[in-house]
């Protein structure tokens, strides 16, 4: 009964989505408030029904009801409870259900908290949400239904892919989906603005919290996924330029650009048409990511779906929404009023520069990801575009972007003073140069680019601090009053500084990890000792252990440095009988921001085991950076004050004053 109730709830949600996508628009057309308000109650009811449906599927997984195909294929009665729950979205059908649940959640949030929106705008936004939701409900019900049944249920399930049996699955997909799907709100706002034919600074104010929320979740989701791949896949890498990773990076780059251009729009009423386009593109890239992962066109760890019917269906949704919204944009954009003007050198100009670099970076990732696919479709050749391409294109785009980052916040709105900003950044520049010089002296020789890259990172961090110091008037006014002024900062100012510093910190981690990473790969027998980066790792013992649904071989290493024992590390290799596959569980030892990483390979006949040991200096900074960025975003989100960009008055105005 649980399964059927969940199934029916999903069908009802589809029905409600269809009503939500039509009635409010008619209401707005004839300005009937009652009809427009239908959007609100249907959005909330839809959330209720999808919530029921998702809860039903979760319950089915928890009680191991193998009469449901989805549970049979992806669960096992011996699996720990946590993985029974996370296994709900560890498969294609369940993860699509999570997708629509989050979509309904955002719709419900707009309905519940959108009191400050004009009635017709809210009706249009929710109607567009209804279109997206209806398309995806239909997709789920027709091609990937999680509630299909087996009349004679099997005794035991097929178990979840062992790689996914990890705490990472509990966090990464929900975060990522909150990010992906969150951008649907800015998309709906953009389409609603196009339909209504009016857009202004207030629009950006209304859409800001949604974009920020989506961006925060996407940032954390990507960082979490990267850390998960780092410790679970056992290669010690944290980013592989895998198409699935790129699929999440593209909306992030576009979303970051959107975040910045929306600021210009809210504060200065400029860049309006461009912001609308970015909103559309960001969600389109999210949809594209969903298509790439869900249709199975890519074969990688994440692609569990290989049914062509699904691929074609998602492709249709993709064409409908991207094509439809872009056509609407082409048709209506010219009717939107242009906004405020600004000089090329100004805060607005800096943000335009930021947008240019971010969208270009996004385009290169797009090409690098889709070109091999296109080529395969056209000629049948399988090529892979790997790290070299992305490093060569991404690096040159990000260096000038990062150089420009500290300048942006220091420029005035409307017309800025580049020379003045450069003067104020002198201290940051000097700090960066000192960092480069010290590093150079310290490592003498070796990688040339690494100290320069770290210098750049230091410049970004110092630049963020300079901005704060400048605003507080530090060194210009008394310390006490500077602190008082800093207290009075809008939280968004702190948010900007944290987010920008986060970029620098992540860059330091990336450079250190790639340049000074040391490794040991070899066969080891008990009581053998490996020396890596000044640490001695002694293999004490290899033992076997039975887990709930796997057996594991655990190796125990004693780590010591200069004769002093630090800790015991126990990497293991798990064997899952049901899927007859195995996973490596790397052991991590954190020392400050650096990590020792051990992963096990195969054993050979005489009891020796293949071991990979890495020492990764400052590797954790790679993830602390994004966390800091997300924290900055959170600060900005918590700041409910209005954003005003006070324009710098032209000097000419003063020259026109009557002479004495």
């Amino acid at each position: 009964m649980i399964a059927e109730a969940g199934h029916y709830a999903l069908v009802l949600a589809l029905g409600l989505a269809l009503i939500q996508s039509t009635v409010p628009i008619l209401g707005a057309r004839w300005s009937d408030h009652a009809l427009m308000n239908v959007a609100r109650s249907t959005a909330l009811a839809q959330l209720l029904f999808v919530g029921c449906s998702f809860t039903a599927l979760t319950m089915l997984h928890v009680v191991s009801d193998f009469s449901v195909v989805n549970v049979f294929e992806n669960s096992h009665s011996m699996k720990p409870l946590l993985y029974k729950i996370t296994g709900v979205w560890g498969n294609h059908e369940g993860s699509m259900l999570l997708w629509v649940l989050i979509l309904a959640l955002f719709g419900g949030l707009v309905a519940a908290f959108g009191n400050n929106l004009p009635l017709s705008l809210r009706a249009h936004v929710l109607a567009v949400q209804g279109w997206i939701a209806a398309a995806f409900y239909l997709f789920i019900l027709v091609t990937s239904n999680p509630f299909l049944r087996i009349a004679t249920p099997p005794i035991e399930g097929r178990d979840l892919n062992p790689v996914l049996q990890d705490i990472g699955l509990a966090v990464h997909p929900p975060m990522l989906y909150l990010g992906y799907v969150g951008f649907s709100i800015s998309f709906s706002f953009a389409v609603a603005a196009l339909i209504e034919g009016r857009i202004d600074a207030a629009w950006a104010r209304w859409v800001r919290p949604w974009t920020l929320m989506a961006w925060i979740f996407l940032t954390l989701g990507i960082a979490m996924g990267s850390y998960w791949a780092y410790y679970e896949l056992g290669w010690g890498g944290w980013w592989f330029w895998d198409p699935v990773e790129n699929a999440s990076l593209m909306p992030w780059l576009a979303g970051t650009a959107l975040l910045h251009s929306a600021v210009v729009m809210e504060k200065r009423n400029a860049l309006k048409v461009w912001t609308i386009l970015l909103s559309i593109l960001t969600f389109s890239l999210s949809l594209l990511g969903t298509f790439l992962v869900r249709s199975g066109v890519l074969t990688s760890v994440h692609a569990f779906a290989t049914d062509p019917a699904r691929g074609v269906f998602i492709l249709l949704i993709l064409c409908l929404f991207i094509g439809g919204s872009l056509s609407l944009y082409a048709w209506r954009a010219s009717t939107l009023k242009q906004g405020g003007l600004f000089a090329p050198i100004s805060r607005e100009g800096a943000l335009v520069l930021n947008n240019l670099f971010l969208t270009t970076a996004c385009a290169t990732v797009f090409i690098g990801t889709l070109y091999p696919l296109g080529l395969e479709v056209l000629t049948g050749d399988k090529i892979s575009v790997g790290a070299p391409f992305f490093n060569l294109t991404f690096g040159p785009l990000f260096v000038p972007l990062l150089l420009a980052v500290p300048f942006g916040p220091l420029l005035a709105w409307k017309r800025g003073d580049l020379f003045g900003a450069a003067q104020r950044l002198m201290a940051a520049g000097v700090t960066a140069l000192v960092a480069v010089a010290v590093l150079w002296a310290w490592i003498h020789g070796g990688a040339t680019l690494a100290p320069l890259a770290i210098g750049l990172a230091v410049f970004v961090i110092a630049g963020a601090l300079t901005d704060l110091a400048e605003r507080a008037g530090l060194f210009r006014v008394a310390l006490a009053s500077a602190i008082a002024r800093a207290r009075g900062f809008p939280r968004a100012t702190w948010g900007t500084a944290f987010a920008h510093a986060g970029v620098g910190i992540a860059l330091i981690g990336i450079v250190c990890e790639t340049t000074w990473n040391s490794e040991y790969i070899g066969m080891m027998k008990p009581s053998d000792v490996a020396n890596v980066a000044g640490y001695q790792l002694k293999l004490d013992d290899i033992a076997q252990r039975q887990g709930p649904n796997f057996r594991e071989m655990i190796a125990q290493f004693t780590v010591s440095r200069d004769g002093e024992t630090i800790q015991v590390m126990t990497p293991s290799k798990r064997n899952f009988t049901t899927r007859s596959s195995s996973t490596t569980e790397a052991a991590l030892l954190t020392r400050g921001a650096s990590q020792l990483y051990i992963s096990l390979g195969d054993t050979n006949a005489d009891g020796a085991i293949a071991v990979r040991i890495y020492h990764k200096p400052l590797v954790l900074l790679i993830w602390w950076g994004p966390v800091l960025m997300a924290f900055g975003g959170l600060l900005s989100l918590s700041d409910r004050r209005l954003r005003v960009g006070a324009p710098k008055p032209a000097k000419a105005a003063r020259a026109l004053q009557p002479a004495e």
């Binding site: 029916y8 589809l14 009635v23 008619l26 308000n37 009811a45 009680v63 009801d65 005003v644």
Partner: protein, 367 residues
């Protein structure tokens, strides 16, 4: 019945969600508008200017800009006062009251299985589940052995059970522990060899062979080790050696040995493959002759087999051997024609035809 009652409740809730705002009519509160945002922005400018975060001139410029935006909103009032459109409201109500339930139930019935009840694990374990007890016992013994890994007797009990359950990798480890903690013996070595071969999908690997050789070194008469050494010889393509080993075993074996039939079947297999006409001497001769002569001899054997099959076609094994021989000799055309002939010959017997098809599949030809 409860299920349909629940469906009805859910449907009512869905309908209510649509009808409720319609019934409230125009009394619903209107939303916010742009003017509110700009007024707040003006207040913000005042606060920032008072706190000294922006200069006086900038604040004035900002005020002017925001004022301009505020004026612009006054031109286009967004939310016009509500005009009740009764026709549309009625149509929406009808869609919700009639269309929604009909569409939902129709769509659901085409996909769902309302007659299937729940089958949670808890209610299923009460019914027959033969595998569960033994696996639980194995898990208990394994847990015990983790704490006492030097318990040789425990490993001796566990190892054969693991082998029977098909967990060969674990069985290999278990037998190694048996040898370590409960003492070495020819029998245990050959058991270890057997699970090693099992882990390799039935192939006697070099590792497994080494174990059998160790077993034979301890006890030359150990039947399992000898049998597998023969199998190793067969898999290496040394049919004569295999036959010799097995024949020797049969000669020495007691008349009531339970493995006699297995050995006889194996012997029959290699004897046939080695072709009845070719004795050990002939093979030795074949090894000495040069390449051309040898291939001529093989060809002669194959032709003989083909002739025999033409006379008596009801020999599936024979046909398969013939097809395999043609494939090995690189004569695919002949293999295909032999295949067709074989199909014709055994067409009358469904069981034979099935065997033939399975054999062909193994050879990599379509079945």
């Amino acid at each position: 019945m409860t299920l349909w009652f629940m469906f009805a409740l859910m449907t009512v809730a869905a309908i209510f969600a649509v009808l409720w705002p319609l019934s409230r009519g125009s009394s619903a509160p209107a939303g916010g508008d742009e003017a509110a945002v700009y007024k707040d922005q003006l207040a913000e400018v005042e606060r920032d200017a008072a706190a000294g975060l922006i200069g006086v001139a900038e604040a004035e410029a900002a005020r002017v800009e925001i004022g301009r935006r505020l004026l612009a909103t006054a031109d286009g009032q967004r939310d016009r006062p509500s005009r009740a459109n009764l026709g549309l409201r009625r149509a929406s109500a009808i869609v919700a009251l009639v269309g929604l339930p009909i569409a939902a139930v129709t769509f659901y019935l085409s996909l769902g299985s309302p007659r299937l009840g729940d089958f949670p694990l808890a209610s299923r374990t009460r019914t027959a589940d033969v595998n569960q007890p033994i696996e639980n016992m194995v898990a208990q013994v394994e847990a015990h052995l983790e704490k006492n890994p030097a318990d040789g007797r425990g490993w001796t009990v566990l190892a054969p059970v693991l082998a029977r359950l098909g967990r060969y990798d674990d069985a290999v480890r278990a037998y190694r522990n048996v040898i370590t903690y409960a003492g070495d013996s020819a029998e245990r070595r050959s058991d270890l060899g057997e699970v090693l071969a099992g882990a390799a999908g039935g192939v006697v690997t070099a590792e497994a062979k080494a174990e059998f050789e160790r077993a034979v070194a301890q006890n030359a008469e150990e039947p399992k080790a000898n049998y597998f050494l023969g199998l190793a010889a067969e898999q290496d393509g040394r049919q004569a050696d295999a036959a010799a080993i097995w024949r020797g075993m049969l000669a020495k074996a007691p008349a009531d040995a339970p493995w006699r039939p297995l050995l006889q079947a194996a012997l029959a297999r290699v004897d046939e493959t080695a072709a009845p006409a070719v004795s050990g001497d002939a093979m030795a001769a074949a090894r000495d002759t040069n390449e051309d002569d040898r291939s001529a001899m093989i060809r002669a054997m194959v032709d003989r087999l083909a002739t025999r099959l033409k006379q008596n076609g009801n020999d599936v094994e024979g046909w398969l051997r013939l097809v395999r021989a043609y494939m090995v000799m690189g004569e695919r055309d002949k293999a295909v024609s032999a295949l067709a002939e074989a199909r014709q010959a055994v067409a009358g017997d469904a069981e034979h035809l099935r065997q033939l098809n399975e054999g062909l599949k193994k050879l990599g030809l379509d079945g």
